[in-house]
Amino acid sequence: MLSSKASCNSHGQDSSYFLGWQLYENNPFHEVENPTGIIQMGLAENQLSFDLVESWLRKNPDVMELKKGGESVFRELALFQDYHGLPTFKNELVEYMAKIRGNKVKFDPNNLVLAAGATSANETLIFCLADPGEAILLPTPYYPGFDRDLKWRTGVEIVPVHCWSSNGFRITMFALEEAYERAQKLNLKVKGVLITNPSNPLGTTMTKEELDHLITFAVAKNIHVISDEVFSGTVFDSPGFISILEAAMDRNLENTDVWSRIHIVYSLSKDLGLPGFRVGMIYSNNKTVVGASTKMSSFGLVSSQTQYLLTNVLASKRFTSKYMKENQKRLKKRKEMLVSGLKKSGIECLKSNAGLFCWVDMRHLLSSNTLEAETKLWNQMVCDVGLNISPGSSFHCSEPGWFRVCFANMSRGTLQVAMRRIKDFVERSNFMGRIKMNYQQNMSSLSRKLLSNWVRKLSSPDPNEHER
């Protein structure tokens, strides 16, 4: 009766990534009204710097009122539906993007295409670059939303490029080649490789070496490179951020074929913390891609009201400089709070310098090195400990035991509560683990069986207990 897209589950929402959100929605934490509720640590939002934006707005009420020089521009905005976007908005955006990259790359506003969020930008780019049944390589772990954004309505396949903790999940030439061959064996024509830099969920920026591998690989295989740089404004520590275009320029590739096969996706949802405004964009030096994606943007234009507001915000250079600096400072501090808090519980994080989350190593808390054990631990974390953190399997991580934990979408107080809950949980697990180990060494097999049943009962504590 309906389409197969409507009846299948390629929308990807059956993933634990989204299930965790649902569980959170049913019992959301609130410091006063629901202190035992689930704390949302599965949503990569930046809520740390709103006060800076609000203060700018208070000083510029005209803009929100849709006025310019005291006169209403309501009518012009209400009518403006040109899919090329407000020229002044695009000018500001390219300047802002260049600023984030330390002005090492210059962007041409004519090569910028607006879209309704990075969600729409990524989907549109795939529609432009690949036919149904063709494939895109994606290094793991990767953002769960890609399963929906890149595959669902486009009919394009994702072939994972496996990355491992043994080298900090860095992308190697070997991994790229291996994935390519796997795709070939499956009779899938590879059209491109999509990277997220800075990485979601790792929180790391790509090294020059990794970027060089990708470019060399793209040249050799004659494929596209899509660089999702939505977190580029969240780099708070060294090493700095290197954009794919900068890496290509360093190799003097501007006048070669591959230059028109490199495309960037960006959005204002992460750095500026404005996911509700749906401001995404595609940047490409390929005129055909710009042309086609511009037409496709008809399906998801940015509201002119929002374009106007943000043109004015970004035009204030003093504000953007101040914001960028302060935002990075706050992100760094908050990340350090999470990392040190986890360390106190014996939990390490992957060393990171960007993003709104940490990639947390909970392998030692698994009962076994399996997906099932990770899922069990995840269930405990959400339902018993009351923290919605996202399991590595939802990011297609090849190794069980890693979790993405967000830190920028809550107050300091809430993060402190979260750290306390984890500490309690770990202590409880350690205690139970030690008891189990001692008795198992000394008891007979029958007693062991009786004991493990008892231990199992005890290790599902009353949800109210963790507040003590």
Partner: protein, 475 residues
Amino acid sequence: MVAISKIATGNGHGEDSPYFDGWKAYETNPFHPIDRPDGVIQMGLAENQLCFNFIKKWVMEHPEASLCSAEGVNKFKETALFQDYHGMPEFREAVAKFMGKVRGGRVKFDPDRIVMSGGATGAHEMVAFCLADPGEAFLVPTPYYPGFDRDLSWRTGVELVPVVCESSNNFKITRAALEAAYEKAKEANLRVKGLLITNPSNPLGTILDQDTLKGIVKFINEKNIHLIGDEIYAATVFMEPEFVSISEIIEEVECNRDLIHIVYSLSKDMGFPGFRVGIVYSYNDAVVSCARKMSSFGLVSSQTQHLIAKMLSDDDFVDRFIVESKEQLLKRHKYFTLSLSQVGIGSLKSNAGLFIWMDLRKLLKEKTFDAEMDLWRVIINEVKLNVSPGSSFHCDEPGWFRVCFANMDDNTMEVALLRITTFMHKHNEAMVPRKLCRRASLKLSLSRRRDDFMSPNMMSPHSPIPQSPLVRART
């Protein structure tokens, strides 16, 4: 050079149609009463610009709707973070209420069935993705809006099969026409999944009567196919007979509600195409659920949701707006059609929409589409009016043109009518009555040059597209 996709390199975007060609002519030489009095007047863009002063007044009087009062700024954070694809509850409630009011309060809409999309453009594509697989088909009565070729087919791979409607019976959608189209699809081995109707019609400006609607509902139930009702012009019905929505008909006839879906938007009724407020309203729970997930690709900006929620919750404003809008449209329509008739130009009798379906068949050198194109080029290049040729709407018969009348001020309208009159005088050998409806004084309202936050080409009245899509299509 590695290929990009077939979709990107093909012409499924539909911009090679003369519908868009005319915009190019306008863009390269746009009319301005002072700076370019000989420029082309845009009459190919169905926009509603007649009630802006009314709306502007409301916006100025309600700063909290734009999030800028002291208490408003505190709402900023919450709004900026809100990306839930369910949409703000107050937004959905306000839109549902508005939809009900536009239908005279005869139907109630459930806010939980309202799904957002990137304009009606996004809504149509989304519905096609939900209801049909690539290679399946929708039936669409002709003439129809040229954008459907892109919206319903381009990325979805769905085929459109025309239901041919003829001038001999005022382009009514007959059972015979529906059956013929259905058979044609079958012969071409296309599985028909749905029927899309636009009511009020673009480009006809007419509404579907009760009997036709009932017949359509009966047809889709018999064939067990979906019915998509594009009702984006619902509030532009300015004259009797009264608008009847599908939502009303299904209360009166036996119908499988899982087959019924409505596409709506605020672009036409309120004149807000820039705000991208598209709506899919479905009576089918599975479609609502699927569409909601897909709406991630085209959510309405939360800033805009907030504004619209506030505006459409103001009952007094909404009631007055609906009345005012109809009055302005009626006034403009009456004046325009009367003036045309006085120079011997007829149009399909209409009571809705932002345009008329002008009958220029007698001006054709011969009854062919080539002749229609020749006439169209004359109208663009000599009369300097961008009107849209019927062939771009897949009209079966040459000689019809859609002419928009609600996207310009009174003075521009006068200039357009003067040009038409002059052209007709030159064209007709016979004397034309000199009694023309001419305003006593042509008040030249000085349309200000807009500031540079818009493209330098944009002047009033203007198409919002400073560079022709055709130019882009050629790169």
